[in-house]
Symmetry: C2
Subunit: 347 residues, 2 copies
């Protein structure tokens, strides 16, 4: 086992960078390891138009100079083909569908099978469709599996539309994506490679491990690990790193989202090592730095990231800047805080 | 539908009354509706001996005069037949087994199949064996089902030992208890008649709905509702009301337990009404006031409880007395706080 591995600079094909003080905090933490990231549009002020895209990209670039945000818009009832073309002109490369009520800021979500004309517009202009693959109203452990028929329907009608099933959590979703054509891919998060429902409610209740879709069974996690390390280009990294303040996590009704940005690449090295797939890094590199870019039709990054096998202890929490008081209200806990990490990163 | 129903005063055959200030707060809230309750022994200072039983009963009676605590001891590695007899002499009517690590204060738990001589002693003296029916190390949604073979083994070896499978949460457990002999019964909680996993992690993460065993699927809940309203004497009420301060609930690693004592009987009236099983109360009365007492060989309560169909709003929280500060640290949230309840109770 080598003690230092150099891979092509990675992309995070699914991240939440938020707004305001939180954006100031988390954008540089993603930019530290990732050259680019696909930025989700479900901010408190949603990203719905070309104008929103341009404005939000400007804010991100101010927060993390040198980092390249890959922009998205949120599909809502009022999204027209004209809006899609204008968003693309402003730099959006993908559009995200949230079924209503399935996650943070999805109250304006839509029925994924009711916007076929919008998909036609996406297909025509070559934008990618990103799906939050959960069926509303279904029991939480079955929500993703229940969504797969919608995925199959959409992929069947639009064989040239590039579709990403985001943050897959089940063996059923992995099998479905494998089975569908080359126009369908999936992102896998770091935390879903590590967690099961036991880490959320199996011992104590742990809101910092709570996300949508909820982590599933050990067999599901094994299927995700197999997919991530398989070398199948349909599966690539999208961390879904999703920070919330401790105030919004440690309460009677806590928000969904796991903040993995600061530990994503160190943990991936550890996971791939555990799975016997690390070696000198080629399988990890394809998962983090090639398959996503290729699917989106982007050039590969030029620089490299070095993974060093040298233990360090992850941060316990981060302070959100520009808020009034130094209180728990204004702090964010990363995934696995204060844990000894065998791998660290440097450029 | 009558607007006022009188039933025999109920028993809660499974409750956590805690110690200190929390005991002062919650014992009267259980005593308001229930004449008696079987008090669990997994306090911070566990109830292990006759001496502990006598002392703890004294504390409870001071906190809730007129209320009759039904006492239990916790079975641990060091429990001997002599200890069991001494505990019985001090008034304990049951002994509780916690498999190691499955819930609050169960680090000293035991292997339920490794204490057969203790079960022999319980059988010989006529004490009841109460089982927390979860298999450690198993995926949380499968823990109860995995325990059922242990239950069948113990029930098979000791056909005269009265066994209660506590707080059943699955259709599998209901079927198993139905199938086993008349020496095996089960308690059902109010919250497991209402919740599924969706109420814990299906939308936001809700620590006040988090308990062990975790609430399961809609089909499991339907099986529990059917069992509770079936008139089968093997199923009776044990609320497992288990208060924790907001400080220990709304945090990064929250405790298991749902505090239902103040709303248990109002909610049961509502549930039985929804299930079409309320009428003038006889089915509810048997579930809350007869089957448990009969199984334990206790006389039925003399008094009555009146259920009145008159809306009220449940408390949002309760202050724990005798702690220093009036802060969230010292408050307890009941199940379904601030909710309009169609039924209320009076003596």
């Amino acid at each position: 086992m080598s003690h230092s591995i150099k891979i092509r600079r990675p992309d995070d094909m699914h991240v939440h960078l938020r707004e305001g003080g939180m954006l100031q905090l988390v954008a540089p933490l993603t930019a530290k390891d990732f050259a680019r990231a696909l930025v989700m549009p479900n901010t408190n002020t949603p990203i719905l138009s070309g104008w929103d895209v341009a404005k939000y990209r400007g804010e991100i670039k101010l927060a993390a100079p040198g980092f390249e945000p890959l922009m998205t818009i949120k599909l809502v009832e009022s999204t027209t083909p004209e809006i899609i073309l204008a968003a693309q002109a402003a730099g959006a490369i993908a559009a995200k569908v949230y079924p209503q009520g399935v996650t943070t800021n999805s109250a304006d979500g839509i029925d994924p099978e009711a916007v076929m004309d919008t998909y036609e517009a996406l297909e025509a202009c070559g934008m990618v469709l990103c799906l939050h693959g959960e069926m509303p109203g279904v029991f939480c452990m079955d929500r993703e599996a229940a969504f797969l028929t919608s995925l199959e329907t959409i992929a069947g009608i639009f064989p040239k539309l590039k579709i990403v099933l985001e943050h897959v959590t089940t063996a059923a979703a992995v099998r479905c994506v494998e089975r569908l054509g080359p126009n369908v891919a999936a992102t896998i998060t770091v935390h879903h490679l590590m967690l099961t429902l036991d880490d959320v409610v199996g011992d104590k209740i742990q809101p910092h491990n709570f996300c949508k879709p909820i982590a599933k069974t050990p067999a599901d996690r094994a299927a995700l690990r197999e997919a991530a390390t398989s070398g199948n280009p349909k599966f690539f990294l999208g961390t879904d790193s999703a920070p919330h303040s401790r105030y919004h996590k440690e309460c009677a009704s806590g928000c969904a989202g796991v903040f993995t940005a600061p530990v994503a690449m160190p943990l991936l090295a550890e996971i791939f090592e555990t799975e016997g797939s690390l070696g000198d890094g080629p399988v990890l590199e394809r998962f983090t730095s090639e398959f996503g870019a290729r699917f989106y039709g982007l050039p590969l990054n030029e620089g490299t990231l070095t993974l060093v096998r040298k233990p360090w202890t992850s941060h316990r929490e981060y302070q959100i800047p520009s808020n009034e008081m130094d209180s728990a209200r204004d702090r964010v806990r990363p995934f696995l805080p204060g844990r000894e990490m065998p791998w660290q990163t440097s450029l």
